[in-house]
């Protein structure tokens, strides 16, 4: 009984600690419309990124850096440059993966998991992930950011993630960081830095030709 009381007492504190200074937005449908409308104005994103992967139980983390490109509707280029090379291109239904040794092209529709991962990546940056039915969503805000807490409802995604937290800039409605809380207890934080919105990007960078 004491444990239960302690748990009930600590649970809201835990939530507050997790999203410090953020308050929940109750009008989700109003936010969705506004977010969709405003993020639709972003035709392209050109940005650097820093990815921090933390193996929580092992108290170990590795930081990797690279370049990120997005072009509406559904073109993404993620290029890891340091400390390894790895290129991932999403162009519609096609996903291309290239590293030092190999090059793979696949149709994401051929595999449900690939399609779900593809959708998460594309929809995170084009602003439509809050409509993704594989997740339940809660929205929070602080003075300068929105925080979208995405909780998987799909069984496959539940096996990988507890939550995906997407932080977006209130002024531009563009995503500034993504925190993936994995089911294994590990985390992956991707921060987008030096963001350049609506720059001219050629279609060719979303191919391997």
């Amino acid at each position: 009984m004491r444990s239960l009381i302690l748990f009930l007492w600590l649970a809201p504190l835990n939530l507050l600690a997790q999203y410090n200074n953020f308050t929940e937005i109750s009008d989700i449908s109003g936010f969705k419309k506004k977010f969709n409308d405003e993020s639709a104005k972003i035709k392209s994103i050109s940005s650097n990124f820093e990815q921090e992967k933390e193996l929580t139980i092992l108290s170990e983390k590795i930081i990797s850096k690279g370049e990120f490109r997005f072009k509406r509707e559904n073109k993404i280029r993620i290029e890891y440059l340091d400390p390894f090379y790895y290129l991932m291109i999403i162009n519609g239904d096609k996903m291309i993966i290239k590293d030092d040794q190999n090059e793979t092209t696949m149709n994401v529709r051929s595999n449900k998991l690939f399609q779900q991962v593809n959708n998460i990546m594309v929809e995170s940056v084009n602003g439509t992930i809050i409509d993704n039915e594989d997740f339940s969503v809660r929205i929070f805000e602080d003075a300068s950011r929105y925080l979208m807490e995405m909780t998987p409802v799909d069984k496959t995604l539940k096996g990988f993630f507890n939550t995906i937290l997407i932080y977006a800039d209130k002024e531009s409605f563009s995503v500034t960081q993504i925190l993936m809380n994995e089911s294994s207890g590990d985390t992956t934080l991707i921060k987008f830095v030096n963001r350049n919105l609506n720059a001219q990007l050629s279609d060719e960078i979303f191919t391997l030709n």
Binding site: I57, L58, E60, I62, D82, P83
Partner: protein, 209 residues
């Protein structure tokens, strides 16, 4: 147990074995200890090719305070594939495996491969010495009528390769570019089915600053 191993030694080097042409020789198995990787916290870029599929990622070898060795394999975009442990006494424990890899045959194959990488058999007894041409073969038999063969130059200054086999060779491993007793490159080739693991050590000090 030791008697059984000696019986296995006889069977291994009798007719029909890929190693029947080895000639008993006087050698010093203690010279092999300098080739045993002394992992502390080491990240490798990993490429795994198995049955026509290619998986690339990052592999961490971490010596824990209790002297156990943890091995974690993640995708380059951050998702953890597996987290294995070898205790100080060499006992194997699987802490985490994603569903797609969570099959007994996969885990057993990887466990054996990691035992080769960690050179666990160098802690076993007996280690028998043989020669062939100008190479020394140090054989560590196991109860399954197979043995790990550490193939060195005649003066034991160079570890040419590690082989595993009984009647025929089933695996060969190469350890190259040692720096402070840590291999810069490790390659494992399974010879009875199509599987290759390639590890290249990452210098991540700059990335983590």
């Amino acid at each position: 147990m030791r008697f059984l191993l000696l019986i296995n030694c006889f069977l291994l080097f009798s007719c029909g074995s890929a190693y029947k042409t080895l000639v008993p020789a006087e050698g010093d198995p203690g010279c092999l200890q300098k080739f045993k990787p002394r992992f502390t916290t080491n990240w490798y870029e990993a490429n795994v090719d198995v049955m026509g599929n290619h998986i690339s990622g990052l592999m961490l070898f971490k010596l824990m305070p209790d002297s156990s060795m943890r091995i974690a394999f993640t995708s380059k975009s951050g998702l953890k594939f597996l987290d294995f442990e070898f205790t100080k006494n060499g006992q194997f424990k699987s802490h985490y495996v994603i569903d797609n890899l969570n099959k007994k045959v996969v885990i057993n194959t990887l466990r054996k491969d990691f035992e080769i990488i960690l050179m666990h058999s160098l802690d076993e007894w007996p280690i028998l010495s043989y020669s062939k041409s100008d190479l020394y073969y140090y054989a560590v038999p196991d109860p399954d009528n197979e043995a790990d063969y550490y193939v060195t130059s005649w003066d034991c200054t160079n570890l040419v390769r590690v082989e595993q086999g009984g009647r025929k060779k089933v695996l060969e491993a190469f350890f190259r570019n040692y720096d402070n007793r840590i291999p810069g490159e490790i390659t494992l080739n399974h010879t009875t089915f199509n599987m290759k693991i390639s590890l290249i050590k990452l210098d991540i000090e700059n990335a983590n600053q």
